[in-house]
Symmetry: C3
Subunit: 309 residues, 3 copies
Amino acid sequence: MKHILRSQQFDRPALEKLFSATDELSALYETPAGKRDIRKLCEGKLLFAVFYEPSTRTRFSFCSAAQHLGMMTLQTENAKEFSSAIKGETLEDSINALCQYDPDIIVLRHHETGGADRAAAVVDRFDHNVSIINAGDGKGQHPTQALLDLYTIKRELGRIDDITVTVTGDLANGRTVKSLVYLLAKFKGVKFVFLSPENLKMEEGIIGHLREHEVPFREARNLEDALTDTDVAYWTRIQTERGSSNTTLDLTLGVPQMKFMKEGSIVLHPLPRVNEIAKEVDGDKRAAYFRQVRNGMLIRMSLLRELCG
Amino acid sequence: MKHILRSQQFDRPALEKLFSATDELSALYETPAGKRDIRKLCEGKLLFAVFYEPSTRTRFSFCSAAQHLGMMTLQTENAKEFSSAIKGETLEDSINALCQYDPDIIVLRHHETGGADRAAAVVDRFDHNVSIINAGDGKGQHPTQALLDLYTIKRELGRIDDITVTVTGDLANGRTVKSLVYLLAKFKGVKFVFLSPENLKMEEGIIGHLREHEVPFREARNLEDALTDTDVAYWTRIQTERGSSNTTLDLTLGVPQMKFMKEGSIVLHPLPRVNEIAKEVDGDKRAAYFRQVRNGMLIRMSLLRELCG
Amino acid sequence: MKHILRSQQFDRPALEKLFSATDELSALYETPAGKRDIRKLCEGKLLFAVFYEPSTRTRFSFCSAAQHLGMMTLQTENAKEFSSAIKGETLEDSINALCQYDPDIIVLRHHETGGADRAAAVVDRFDHNVSIINAGDGKGQHPTQALLDLYTIKRELGRIDDITVTVTGDLANGRTVKSLVYLLAKFKGVKFVFLSPENLKMEEGIIGHLREHEVPFREARNLEDALTDTDVAYWTRIQTERGSSNTTLDLTLGVPQMKFMKEGSIVLHPLPRVNEIAKEVDGDKRAAYFRQVRNGMLIRMSLLRELCG
């Protein structure tokens, strides 16, 4: 594995290997002595966070992971507006130039689908010893988000097989949701329950994929139907900044709705949330979305460590 | 002391302890061997500078202090515009998410009064092992600025008791000036002299506070009257970007005006200045405003070290 | 040498000393053990990258160089818009304040010609132990770019004397081109060939300088004439963002045009390029413009090391 470009790179054995490596690293990291030792793992390695679009949370997640491993970091938060891009330089030239400075890893967020693939192609063509990590490419992929979602399920429930996963919100436009459904479909006995406004239903491509692989799914009638008996409630935001709207269905998860959920189940959310999960839910031990953020940093630590060799 | 949110947290013994710790750290820092040793004091600790409004000077002051102590730093300069805030995420959620990455300290500059309090509340509610430092919250507080002002007086004059302090400029809107007056009022024998345009006079709240605590103050008739016999001339800028204006009173401190000031007195200014202090004054040994900037870094080093344990 | 402000600071012996030091450092840097050792050379030293205008490439070049040497870095990408500058603070005050935080080096990019000189003057006036490096001051200088261009010629051809250098593109406005021509004129047996649109010809000042120093130059009739027998083809972009335009002359360097160039010659470009060099040329071993980017980092490492003592 040289680059991390899409979640499909990871088959089931690769996922299990990654999660088990992350468990080990995480156990070490949680002790003071281990935390100190971990800072030697990637000492002297250099990470560039090249963000053509700002995303403070994702940038801090990768760069914290890098710093906890002892790496050095250099960052740009708004390369689209500020860099040579406005003078007409191609992404390929920008990446090729940055590779001359010997980063070990370039974490790239780009506004165009396929941006990370183009970056990886130029790295390989010029034989640079640099790994590209796709941290979101337009409407394309954001593979480390899908990995952290899956890792959180594994860590919280102890298994990924034989679970029921409810997914709500903007199913038509959510990059996160699609990647998660594709990855989960590789496991055994996973059942999906969808709940979304009429105008934001899961797209046909994914529905077809589930049918083809004989993965059971159904649409829920309402919140009670969606939450009863589920193991994972994956909540998402209506992405109004991309033109989505929801006027027909109240998808707010509050304390009353949490009563539908069984003991030992979990609530996930890729964040940021607006008000689709009431903040009163945060105190419920089943609310796992902030632990999910932490798992994101841990998965990234594990990936960075593997890429640094 | 877990968080640093407002200058009122510091009573007189706490201030004296802080200043004396800063003196010691500073003496060490000024030697090459000591400077090297200091880089071990907070080794492996992580500071996030989360600035919803840009302030290059304050950010560099905190981050230089952190780096001289061996800390790692991650920064964002314009979180208000760039982060999930524009998608409707609350400050509480942003801080709670950032805490998952295990910073030891979050230095927060926020555009709303009370921002730092809200950040500290969420840290405490979720029991994170993170300290919040308020680096300015709207029209609220900027406690490390007040601490560095006071420390500079202590260091330059050798005492804070029994001094006369002249304060000029925009007394109505200056956050800095108010904090300074409140803190100085805790010392013995401090007398205030105010000089400001009619429309920018010190607000009634502070005047009332001084009366209540029987702290002597008076308004000066002119620059000569304001400067003669004073120990500290605290000069400030008219904050035109907040709508303040001064058309009635020339408050320029130039070489001629410096003649009114006695030997051993000092001129302070929170900077940036525009032209209210002529640059010819910079060469006068009583011009202490750049040493004040340096003291800011030293005080912050001292605070970071204490918070890191 | 305390500051690096303009390319004229470097006479021929200084250039040769710098290039030879860079060769040595570079040889060390290319081995794993040497790369590790180099991280001790400037350990604990602090570099501020203060960019009033964004330039991701230049900032990453300096900061990568610094980090490979073990330095700490603090950066601002858009100081013009974000800092106290908008409140009316002078560059001198900003620099004087930043110097209080004890950087060893300030890399300054400023939008006004003379900005770096003003910064160096205030550093010297207040006797700060800080070096200013000019990373571009408006239409003024960008000395490390000229140094890296020359170093690349030296490294690629093995000599700087007795070469023919073709320069094309926007010769009227290119800061890079002028500095390069001035520096090359110090060497023996250098001949220039210019090719540019009628409206973007080399300015009279430089032409006069070449005549005065009896440096041979001529204008080429066309691309074939410009490239045949040349050793260095220095290609530049038409800077349309500064109002330059080229409607009369096709200056595209493609695979067919490369056939005019002799074996062992090289193509340079300060980058970013738009389409004045076809990307198909990148695979030609004479295409040296990405190696030139790498040499930029190496020259800066060498300069930083010397300035840090």
